[in-house]
């Protein structure tokens, strides 16, 4: 007989540690509370009581050190791009980025003109989920964040990656 047989009470769940880790990460991705333009208003609305991001485990944190997700909410100018990059580098792994709104995904209304606007935040940092809209409604943002959670859930942090 095996070593572990008949050793557990029935309130114990047996699961792979790998899966457990990704599950626990996916259910509490705390996000970094900073907005660069008007999308931030929608992000605030999403976090406030009506839409209540906290019910999907997302709590705004004011420091990049405590945050797992960076929601880039709004236009990123060239001046801001360097700072966004710096903030991203200050976040602890594992870290994820959501590009919220047209500006953060592609430059938005500044796509053709606007010498000072970064044409998409993915030029400086890697982006996991793009949420289109100008600005996207809180529902759209929540949809994007749920997609991100699905993505995190499928991760296997302990499994060795095949080359």
């Amino acid at each position: 007989m095996g070593l572990l047989e008949n050793k557990f009470n029935d309130n114990i769940i047996v699961e792979k540690l790998d899966k457990l880790l990704s599950w626990s990460r996916s259910t509490s991705p705390w996000f970094f509370q900073f907005g660069t333009a008007c999308c931030a208003i929608e992000m605030m609305a999403a976090a406030a009581s009506r839409h209540d991001l906290m019910r999907i485990g997302m709590i705004p944190r004011s420091s990049p050190r405590q945050a797992d997700v960076m929601i880039v909410a709004g236009t990123v100018t060239m001046k801001m791009a360097l700072r966004v990059k710096k903030l991203y580098e200050q976040m602890a792994d594992p870290k994820y980025v959501v590009a919220m709104g047209s500006c953060a995904t592609s430059g938005g209304p500044y796509w053709q003109h606007g010498y000072h606007v970064l044409k998409g935040v993915d030029i400086v940092i890697p982006v996991d989920v793009y949420v289109p809209g100008c600005p996207p409604r809180p529902e759209a943002l929540i949809e994007g964040l749920l997609k991100l959670q699905e993505q995190i859930l499928e991760e296997r942090p302990l499994t060795r990656k095949m080359a």
Partner: protein, 306 residues
């Protein structure tokens, strides 16, 4: 005789009603006269212009001496009142005792408001013929009264040659090297007291010239003035007035940021919006965007948008 009286009265009433005064007709006690007036009005409304022409002529014919004169006087004062009303002075219109005349003035005002410029042009001529002297007098007085003329007067004695434009009604074009003392005068002189710099901005007006504009307002005296200063693109230097109006600090930094106008003796002249290491002055006509910024490629123009 009485029928004649009635007729002329009815004509007057209908003329008034055509100008929008129905109250006088409705207020007639005599039912017969009232209904006659209304019937005449109904006919007249089909061709108001013709009715007017016919009846003004006929009334002039019947009583050429007294009525024509009083009409002319009334016309002149009507035009004056309408001109006043166009300039926003409704009190003098509302203060007219005579109801018919008041409503006439008001309806004329409504018509004039549709095209005020035309009315003014037309009636300046006519009022001139009536009362040329007073009109010219008030115009020249208002010119002398305006703040820009007062400033020019003082500037000519204090800083001769500082104002370089001829037509100074809208703005003053000031020489850049005298600007600091000029601004000091505008703020501290007891008859000007421009205590608020409302806006300061820049322009690239082409022909290798940059322009800085200052919109000043005096809260104590309630008057405005616009100052413009032109400098060549090759050497864009303007004395800073940051110590005169404290708000000019950030205004001038913004103008420096966008146009590269150097404000001399500014205590903290840095870019205010763009990063410190940005190249070029974005709002100049010949601005070309730099290729990269800290390794980030700046696309010049994306194709296929339209």
């Amino acid at each position: 005789m009485s029928a004649d009286m009635d007729n002329s009265k009815i004509i007057e009433l209908v003329l008034g009603a055509l100008d929008g005064d129905m109250d006088t007709i409705n207020a007639i006690e005599d039912r017969v006269v009232r209904s006659k007036a209304k019937a005449a009005l109904f006919k007249a409304k089909k061709d108001p212009e013709g009715y007017r022409a016919k009846n003004i002529v006929s009334s002039n014919d019947s009583e050429p001496s007294s009525k024509a004169v009083s009409n002319e006087v009334k016309d002149a004062s009507l035009i004056n009142l309408v001109l006043k009303g166009l300039d926003g002075d409704m009190d003098s219109v509302n203060a007219i005792e005579d109801r018919v005349f008041r409503s006439k003035v008001k309806s004329a005002l409504v018509k004039a408001k549709k095209n005020p410029e035309e009315f003014k042009k037309l009636n300046h001529l006519s009022t001139k013929s009536v009362d040329t002297e007073t009109v010219e007098k008030t115009q020249s007085e208002s010119k002398k009264d305006s703040i820009s003329f007062k400033i020019k007067e003082m500037a000519d004695s204090k800083f001769p040659g500082s104002i370089t434009n001829e037509n100074i009604e809208d703005f003053l074009l000031v020489k850049s090297d005298l600007w600091y003392d000029f601004a000091d005068m505008l703020k501290n002189e007891s008859s000007f007291l421009f205590d608020s710099l409302q806006c300061q901005t820049g322009f690239d007006i082409g022909e290798d010239t940059l322009e800085a504009r200052y919109n000043l307002h005096s809260m104590t005296k309630n008057h405005y003035i616009e100052i413009r200063i032109q400098v060549p693109v090759k050497n864009p230097q303007i004395p800073s007035v940051e110590t005169v109006w404290r708000i000019a600090d950030w205004f001038e930094r913004e103008t420096y940021d966008m146009f590269g106008i150097e404000f001399l003796k500014h205590r903290d002249l840095r870019r205010i919006l763009l990063p410190e290491d940005w190249e070029g002055w974005p709002l100049r006509k010949n601005y070309e965007v730099q290729e990269t910024y800290h390794g980030i490629v700046i696309p010049k123009m994306k194709e296929g948008w339209e």
